[in-house]
């Protein structure tokens, strides 16, 4: 197995995420990605009218640097560190998605119908992406964290608000995946 080029199994991915948590804690920072959205609102001047965004955003510049690194890592992993192979997706899921018109599971990293460049010219897809983005931004700030801040950092610190948030992630996720998505996609 070539870890530089092939997709990683779960037992490599999990420890790699724990390594990111370790490095951030030992750098005197916390592992939380959604806070950057708040930082950017503050940078754009949202603090002038809304107290939630007031305060010194410069203290959170490190998070933006991490986000920039995350984008760079994404570029490297998908352009250089790859042999083009994709981990297999369960057959039932592939069939199920094909019926919904979402093809490419187990072949492409992302569905072209939603994330290909031509998706930008599909009004329906744009509305879905915009709605998804809005819910992500609103929900993570309301909950006080996302998958990194609550599911990884918070659960690692045995914080019960994080357990409540993660239960919420799955209630919302299952509702969308099983009940709503089949009708709107």
């Amino acid at each position: 197995m070539n870890l530089l080029l092939e997709p990683w199994p779960w037992y490599i991915g999990g420890p790699a995420i724990a390594a990111v948590l370790f490095l951030l804690l030992f750098s005197e920072k916390r592992f939380g990605m959604s806070s950057n959205l708040k930082t950017m609102c503050s940078m754009a001047g949202a603090g002038k009218n809304i107290p939630f965004f007031a305060g010194d955003w410069k203290a959170n510049r490190w998070g933006l640097v991490v986000a920039l690194g995350a984008a760079t890592g994404g570029f490297m992993a998908s352009n250089i560190m790859t042999d083009g192979s994709i981990g297999s997706i369960h057959e039932d899921v592939v069939n199920n998605l094909n019926q919904m018109g979402i093809t490419g599971a187990g072949v492409d990293f992302m569905p072209q119908a939603l994330f290909g460049i031509e998706a930008l010219t599909e009004p329906k897809v744009l509305v879905l992406l915009a709605l998804g983005g809005f819910l992500i931004g609103f929900g993570t700030r309301y909950a006080g964290g996302c998958t990194s801040g609550h599911a990884i950092s918070g659960l690692s610190d045995l914080q019960w608000p994080s357990l409540v948030a993660v239960i919420g992630f799955f209630i919302g996720g299952l509702l969308m995946n099983q009940l709503i998505l089949p009708y709107i996609i």
Binding site: N36, A67, A77, G133, D157
Partner: protein
Amino acid sequence: MKRTALYFSIGILFGITMIKSEVASWFRIYEMFQFKSFHMYGIIGTAVALGIVLTQMIKRNKLRSFFGKEIQIAPKPKLVKASLYGGIIFGLGWALAGACPGPIYTLIGAGYLPLLVVFVFALLGTYCYGLLKPRLPH
């Protein structure tokens, strides 16, 4: 400057991990919510299990950071309603757009440009939360 390079490197490791482990894949997230694969649960489970050991070690032994200061881990605010309602709203978006806030940056870097739409509206969502915060149950 040194610290900036450190944060940037950690971000690169995170971005590579999001792509190589396929956590940032819409297909993987869909598969997870269909309970058809152990992959995502294996990743989150191992990360949390190792994270608990790491966090407990830091707290019990009062470990020091790379820069020599004792590591402080701030507790999460004890807001049950906000955690649950916000969590549900985020979960809806996660399963729809197939990205959490971290992978949004990673996927844009990877060249999936429609994620820019997700990103702009995530900013708008965060802004609207800030606007409505005083009226929402926490």
